[in-house]
């Protein structure tokens, strides 16, 4: 292993982005994409914790069929707020705003994102939106379901719909700005030699995600605005009494919210592409197919929203077209799964924690994606709409997909982000617990769903209890599995083993600089002469630029003297 050590001493004394400046102000006013990623990481974790608490209450309530723990009003607020927090304040920003923010510039060899100030602004918008939403939840909560369907949300609900809407509206702009920043950065700031087809697939998937963010998010913004005015001033645009059409709201809502599913899962696919290739030391099988399938998903994703409206009085023919397109959008996802699997063939596969998460992702995403076909299929969807089958399906995508990829990515880049290793044994153990707990939680819900248990039910017929008990038991295991990494990752920030610049011995650009990286990522602008995932003997995958222990001054001298 000696051959890989490019630094003479551990990194403790070296100047990096974390210790370059001190004080709260240096964090709150930072324009460094890596620091902003950490700000996001902290705030997103907080929201995940809140969303998780709500999930706990949902599962406890559903342990018994009577609806005895919470009142129905409280329960309705709890599941609504679980959805809103998890979707808008955890899943959508999760991978792009933390890992993406940290890694997009590093992977393409740039010093920062194209618009650092806008990047910071996007975090503040996210935070502001989040605080307004939390305020709305504390002030009395919201009970419309995260889908805000009119006319319930505009006329009948007595909860804080507008305040929550404002929170989501504002955080939506954070998402738009992140997407804009990524697109411009990927287009204009690639290092010399970093051609489009040398980009890591993480970048391709973030590019596709960004497309969805900039095209979809404005539509939900205007939709929420119209909804808020409808509620406040009764202008009639979604109100049948004025000739308005409540189904128009559903169309506008799903025009964003279905592609939003791809905002959540595409970055996860990018992470998994990295993990699969790097932990089997193989270039990805069918690179271009995986890359373009991300774009295909982003584009087709905009054409399938109507499959949420098969039972919402949509015309038969519209239903058939949307069903057809929904089946078509499954193909690029299938291509990805097959290519990931083929990448492992004749690889050199290690069993590190990130790889376990990636393998778990493929399995669960396959189930999640295939059960999506049930819902694209018209006749079956009529039966399954608004049942627990849907709940199980999208949790397989959102939790089994996005969350697992997020955790895998977090472990994978943890040494780069913090300069410390996480404890491998605990990592593997918790990955296993998460996998078991997750399946036990959501597999029974598929069955309950086909048996007819409707979603958003506070009390339910007793025959469904067995599935709910299993689900609650699984959720407890899942909860434990998620608390373990939270604890040991925090612990490792202080007590973990110091990480080498390239602990996994990989060719990616982000591994060719110090851990943690210096403020401008690289000591000299890298010149890329290798393909993506081109594994070479360790001495050829060294850190770019010379670095000694003297600190930043030396680093600057290297750049200026170039």
């Amino acid at each position: 292993m000696k051959a890989f050590e490019t630094f003479e001493t551990p990194t403790a004394a070296r100047v990096n982005y974390i210790n370059a400046e001190y004080g709260l102000k240096s964090w709150l006013l930072t324009k460094d994409h890596k620091r902003i990623a950490l700000l996001y990481l902290g705030s997103i974790s907080a929201f995940f914790f809140i969303g998780g608490l709500y999930a706990m209450f949902i599962r406890l309530e559903l342990l018994t069929p009577q609806g005895d723990l919470l009142s129905s009003t409280t329960y309705n607020k709890v599941f609504t707020q679980h959805g809103i927090i998890m979707v808008f304040f955890f899943l959508i920003p999760s991978i792009p705003a933390t890992l993406g923010n940290f890694l997009v510039p590093m992977m393409i060899g740039a010093k920062d994102l194209a618009f650092p100030r806008i990047n910071l602004l996007s975090w503040y918008l996210y935070l502001l939106g989040g605080i307004i939403t939390i305020w709305a939840l504390l002030a009395g909560g919201v009970d419309t379901g995260w889908t805000f369907y009119a006319p319930y949300s505009t006329t009948f609900s007595n909860s804080y719909v507008v305040a929550t809407g404002v929170g989501i509206f504002i955080s939506g702009f954070s998402s738009i700005l992140t997407g804009l920043n990524f697109i411009v950065t990927i287009h204009t700031m690639r290092a010399p030699g970093m051609t489009w087809f040398r980009l890591p697939l993480f970048i391709w998937s973030h590019y596709a995600t960004s497309l969805v963010m900039i095209l979809g998010t404005p539509v939900i913004a205007i939709t929420i605005l119209l909804l808020a005015f409808e509620r406040l001033a009764h202008v009639g645009i979604f109100d049948p009494a004025n000739g308005g059409d409540p189904v128009l709201f559903q169309h506008l809502f799903w025009f964003y919210s279905h592609p939003a599913v791809y905002i959540m899962v595409l970055p996860g696919m990018g992470v998994v592409s990295e993990l699969i290739a790097n932990f089997s030391r193989k270039n990805i099988f069918g690179y271009k197919f995986v890359a373009f399938s991300s774009l295909a998903i982003a584009v087709f994703g905009f054409l399938v929203w109507g499959h949420h409206l098969f039972v919402a009085s949509q015309s038969v023919y519209a239903g058939m077209i949307f069903s057809f397109l929904s089946f078509a959008v499954a193909i690029p996802s299938a291509i990805k799964v097959f290519n990931w699997t083929a990448t492992l063939y004749k690889g050199s596969i290690s069993y590190d924690t990130p790889m376990l998460y990636a393998l778990g992702f493929i399995g669960l995403f396959t189930v999640g994606g295939m059960t999506g076909l049930f819902l694209a299929s018209l006749a079956v969807d009529v039966h399954l709409s608004d049942t627990y089958f849907i709940v199980a399906h999208f949790h397989y995508i959102m939790v089994g997909g996005t969350l697992l990829a997020y955790l895998g990515g977090l472990h994978y880049w943890w040494p780069k982000i913090t300069g410390r290793m996480y404890p491998e044994g605990w990592g593997r153990f918790s990955a296993l617990v998460v996998f078991v707990g997750f399946n036990l939680t959501f597999l029974p819900q598929f069955i309950a769903g086909y048996l007819g248990m409707p979603r958003r039910y506070h009390a339910y017929p007793p025959e469904f209890q067995v599935f709910n008990v299993l689900s609650t038991a699984g959720a407890s295991i899942l909860g434990v599995g998620l608390v373990i990494p939270f604890i040991y990752l925090l612990w490792s920030m202080r007590y973990g083993k110091h990480a080498e610049p390239n602990p996994w011995h990989l060719p990616g650009l982000e591994w060719r600089t110090a851990s943690p990286p210096p403020t401008e990522n690289f000591l000299a602008t890298p010149i890329v002469t290798w393909e993506a995932y081109e594994f070479a003997p360790p001495e050829e995958m060294q850190v770019i630029g010379k670095l000694k222990n003297e600190g930043l001054e030396v680093a600057d001298a290297v750049i200026d003297g170039k």
Partner: protein, 247 residues
């Protein structure tokens, strides 16, 4: 390395930000950023255009009646004003590119004045609608939507709503909400545009922009033209379509 402006780089223009390699890269990033932003703006307005299309098809008579009540003259004047302002904006960008500071200042001031003229005329139109009680819903408390309707055979009164056969006042209200939402959102963009141009004017007065560096002028120009183009769509959709049904 400290944030902000790097001194000592080879292309050490004071406006070059530390994370860009050179001014050309910075310019490209800025322009592309604005284009991407404008795409999001199109989608933002797109939601309202969809609502307009849907309800106009559903209630053509009501939408035509409501549209006929809008002041065509003021709308047309405003269209001319905006097109002129786009012209002066283009000249301002050109002057910056060729380094004519005086022309640049004059054109920017003209653009801002034209923008303000547009907003002034818009305010007059809004006041007229307020006086005719055409503000939908309870947008303005105490002034519900309650227009006077022209009865058949009565003398013409321009403050009264002329309902075409088949038009329902409820649906006229829908038109006016879409009208206020779209023109209001457009006016918000105009106000932001004027604000941006004031900043540009200040830096332009300080002599910051020249042939080497005029990126901000250029991308503000892009934004201004976009806002102009939105109006070019709004004007015929709101003011003109259905006018032939008047008689």
């Amino acid at each position: 390395m400290a944030e902000g402006i790097t001194v000592g780089h080879e292309a050490s223009h004071p406006a070059l930000q530390h994370h860009f390699e050179n001014l050309e890269q910075q310019r490209e990033a800025g322009a592309l950023g604005m284009w991407v932003f404008l795409v999001t703006e199109i989608m933002f307005f797109g939601g309202m255009f969809l609502a307009y299309t849907l309800y106009r098809t559903k209630f053509p008579a009501a939408f035509a009646s409501a549209s006929n009540h809008l002041d065509l003259t003021l709308g047309a004047v405003n269209t001319v004003v905006l097109i002129l302002s786009s012209f002066t904006m283009a000249l301002a960008v050109y002057s910056a590119q060729v380094g004519k500071r005086r022309n640049q200042l004059i054109c920017l001031i003209l653009t801002i004045l034209l923008g303000l003229t547009f907003l002034g005329i818009k305010a007059v139109e809004y006041r007229d609608k307020y006086e005719d009680s055409l503000i939908p819903g309870s947008l303005i408390p105490g002034r519900p939507f309650n227009p006077a309707v022209q009865e058949h055979g009565q003398p013409y009164d321009k403050h009264k709503l002329h309902l075409l056969p088949g038009a329902n006042v409820k649906n006229v209200e829908m038109f006016y909400w879409i009208y206020f939402a779209m023109t209001g959102m457009h006016a918000v963009h105009m106000i932001i545009g004027v604000g941006v141009l004031l900043v540009i004017l200040y830096f332009s007065w300080r002599g910051r922009y020249g042939p080497e560096y005029h990126n901000p002028v250029e991308i503000s120009g892009l934004y201004w033209h976009f806002v102009d183009i939105v109006w070019i769509f709004l004007f015929p959709l709101l003011y003109l379509l259905g006018r032939h049904l008047e008689h």
